[in-house]
């Protein structure tokens, strides 16, 4: 299995996710600088969290035009699995690899805390090790995580089961009270129609070993490795 982590100027979760992958799977991912245009075939390409280009203009906007993104778009069409976490999710929506957009949190605060997520679809490459409707405890750390899309897109996301994670409480209730950032329908993570591109605001790499305060992210990585191998 070959995994690549794209490093943009301002990425800061690249090493965290590399560590988590190595810990869970034993594979050591490669780092790809965002200016790369030619690189070997990878089974999985990860756009990590951080503040690519200092979040200038709009979060993810400038990163979405980095030279590497053209090739990533081509490979996504060929079915290569692509994950964007936090700033990576913002880059994926800005590059139109995923529908919608991520706006400033409704309360204008940078929110850094552990929240609860409900796994709404476990029939994907990225979530198959979780049970359907499993409640997991995962950290978030963002200022622009308010997922927005128009009504038509929302209907498509619902009909095609593209909503993978929703914010909830420890009982699994999905209500506005348990929505940290004002996301439409408490959306925390979605996949594309083809099912090979996933974006999510929460950080599974920050909860994949007990010393970090939780292991709910392990099944996320195990799902992907089982799908690939």
């Amino acid at each position: 299995m070959r995994v690549a982590i794209v490093v943009f100027p301002g990425s800061n979760c690249d090493r965290d996710i590399s560590w988590a992958i190595k810990k869970v799977s034993g594979y050591k991912p490669d780092y790809l600088w965002h200016k790369e245009k030619n690189f070997i075939n990878y089974d999985l390409i990860i756009l990590p969290g951080g503040f690519s280009y200092g979040d200038y203009l709009r979060c993810g906007a400038i990163g979405s035009h980095s030279p590497i993104m053209n090739e990533i778009k081509k490979r996504s069409q060929k079915g290569v699995k692509i994950i964007g976490i936090c700033n990576g999710f913002q880059i994926l929506t800005e590059s139109k690899l995923l529908p919608g957009s991520l706006l400033q949190n409704e309360n204008l605060k940078f929110i850094c805390k552990k929240i609860f997520l409900k796994v709404k679809n476990n029939n994907t490459f990225f979530s198959k090790k979780y049970k359907l409707n499993e409640i997991i405890n995962v950290p978030i750390a963002h200022m622009e995580g308010r997922y927005y899309c128009n009504k038509e897109t929302l209907k498509e996301l619902e009909n095609n089961k593209q909503i993978i994670f929703q914010y909830c409480n420890d009982n699994g209730d999905i209500k506005k009270t348990y929505n940290p950032n004002g996301s439409i329908m408490n959306i925390a993570g979605i996949i594309n129609l083809k099912g090979n591109v996933l974006g999510m605001m929460p950080h599974p790499e920050r909860c994949s070993e007990e010393i970090l305060g939780g292991e709910n992210g392990i099944k996320f990585f195990k799902s992907i490795f089982e799908s690939i191998n």
């Binding site: 203009l57 035009h65 927005y148």
Partner: protein
């Protein structure tokens, strides 16, 4: 040629910054405010004087990079060189 581009969130999108500014202005005694929206102003200085090609390129810049058509709208103002 100088170009000024105003980027605003679409009217249907919640603008929490605008709302906060409104509250602050209200608190200062400016009560007669219906709504506040906050946006961005981008100034571009082109090498050449105005040409059709430049104008087309500016529009492309707005569509592809400077604004996100899902959540934002933009206005272009061309300032001719003196």
């Amino acid at each position: 040629m100088k170009v000024k581009i105003e980027v605003m969130l679409r009217d249907s999108i919640l603008d929490p910054q605008g709302n906060t500014i409104k509250k602050s202005l209200n608190n200062l005694g400016f009560k007669n405010i219906k709504n506040v929206r906050q946006g961005k102003l981008i100034e571009i200085d082109m090498n050449s004087n105005s040409s059709n090609k430049d104008e087309k390129n500016i529009k492309r810049m707005c569509e592809d990079v400077l604004s996100n058509s899902l959540t934002e709208k933009y206005k272009i103002k061309f300032l001719k060189n003196k």
